[in-house]
């Protein structure tokens, strides 16, 4: 779903929560007059379960879209092997094959990207523009961060990930 220029996606978990509480509310309102009397605020609250995740996704996606040109200009193309703890905070560009995908259903996808020199975790804190699958050849723009913020091995905080070749 597009809002302006931003492609907004709601995670399947948010949709499942909305569906669950809709069914719950319908069932409760059928059998309980007290619930029926409160529907005037319960129905808007129910829709908030979808609207809030959509708004958050819109805000994060538009922010990432604004950052993308900055990273396009500043990020240096590096081999994965060159990324190390000393580069924390630096914008980088890598190309590689997607070896694994995690948490895509949560709109917080994580990928394991590999090139000829090594592999690295790529974490994204919003939904991607494209549907990225295992074995896709991708280009990643992002910033080198520590896996657990203050400690851990270097990973990439992804701003943009896009396919550069058909898998």
């Amino acid at each position: 779903m597009k809002i302006g220029k931003v492609d907004v996606k709601v995670s399947i978990v948010a949709v499942a929560v909305f569906v669950f509480f809709t069914i719950f509310l319908l069932y409760a309102s059928l059998y309980s007059p007290e619930v029926r009397s409160q529907l005037i605020w319960m129905i808007p609250a129910l829709f908030m379960l979808l609207v809030i995740p959509m708004a958050l996704n819109y805000m994060s996606r538009s922010q990432y879209d604004n950052l993308e040109p900055i990273y396009e200009a500043e990020a240096k193309p590096v081999r994965i092997k060159m990324i190390n703890e000393s580069m924390v905070g630096k914008p980088v560009r890598i190309e590689g094959v997607v070896e694994r995908v995690y948490f895509q259903f949560l709109n917080r996808p994580q990928y394991l990207i590999a090139d000829r020199s090594g592999e690295i975790s790529v974490k994204m804190f919003t939904s991607t523009k494209e549907d990225i699958k295992v074995n896709d050849v991708v280009e990643v723009l992002g910033q080198v961060i520590r896996r657990y913020v203050v400690t851990g091995d270097p990973v990439i905080n992804c701003i943009s990930i896009r396919k550069i070749e058909k898998s």
Binding site: K76, K81, M82, N84, E85, K90, V92, R93, G152
Partner: protein, 283 residues
């Protein structure tokens, strides 16, 4: 002190290994042991003694977190178990104290311990934790030290700058570094090799700074440089492999001359040891 200097920091001592083994046993010992003791007191009608079960779980959590901390690859789940232990067993709660929660918690800790052992490897050595110098990198530097120890302090310092700035991704600064090599005294025949290393690193830094691809012509090491290189140059015609392997070898050569000939720069080089070790593992 002399004995300590002969210790290999890349190996855990037998005492340390045995201690880690006992600590791994201590996790189920304390967690389930506390529950067993609590059952004993419960049988005697001493209800508040169920806190013994909780105490055992708390102690086991801290031991598990320590075992997770000393590993180079951190397991955040195991690291945060003390926090959960405090929330579940220390903070005031409306839950009626019983033994179900400690039993489930003890089972979880044991599963996490097994996961920690098999997914997160062995506890770190002083080398893998970056506290001391060792491994295959040390072997390489020991091998090349006699060839490179005649380098001037200025050359060694510039090698340090080149390596550290390249590791940090400051390719523009590396590209502007001068590559003049000075090795006064006995001619070991490796001055040219060191000059080529500076040239290779500078070329790659310029390309990376301007986001340019591999050029058609580029500097590589010559066969006479073989005894100061960390990884043998390939004989196959894969130009990409030759191009990138030359960079890895050039960076390692700069690291070696910096370590050998510039003692005051060693803390900076130690901080980049993990990166240098990664370059050593080039295939």
């Amino acid at each position: 002190m002399a004995e300590n200097s002969r210790k290999d920091p890349d190996q855990l001592t037998e005492t340390t290994t045995r201690l880690h083994g006992w600590l791994e046993l201590a996790v189920p010992f304390f967690s389930f042991g506390g529950i067993v003791v609590a059952f004993f007191f419960l049988g005697q009608g001493n209800i508040p003694a169920m806190r013994v079960a909780a105490s055992g779980c708390i102690i086991a959590s801290f031991i598990l977190a320590y075992l997770a901390w000393i590993r180079p690859k951190k397991d955040i789940v195991a690291l945060t178990t003390p926090l959960y232990a405090v929330i579940l067993f220390v903070l005031p709660s409306e839950l009626i104290p019983d033994l179900i929660l400690p039993i489930l918690y003890a089972v979880s800790l044991t599963i996490l311990l097994v996961r920690l052992k098999y997914r997160f490897g062995e506890p770190g050595t002083a080398v893998s934790l970056g506290k001391e110098f060792g491994g295959s990198l040390k072997t390489y530097i020991d091998r090349t030290g006699s060839f490179l120890n005649k380098a001037s302090p200025d050359t060694a310092h510039r090698a340090t700058l080149a390596f550290v700035q390249f590791a940090q991704g400051d390719y523009g600064k590396v590209a502007r570094l001068s590559g003049t090599v000075s090795m006064p005294g006995e001619d070991t025949g490796h001055e040219q090799g060191l000059t080529r290393a500076f040239t290779i690193v500078r070329e790659h830094a310029e390309l990376l700074d301007k986001s340019l691809p591999r050029p058609f012509t580029y500097t590589v090491f010559k066969p006479e440089d073989a005894d100061i290189l960390a990884n043998p140059m390939p004989s196959d015609p894969d130009q990409d492999h030759e191009f990138y392997l030359s960079l890895d070898n050039a960076l390692l050569l700069l690291y070696s001359v910096a370590w050998t000939a510039s003692q005051r720069d060693r803390p900076h080089l130690l901080a980049c040891q993990a990166f240098a070790q990664k370059l050593m593992n080039t295939k």
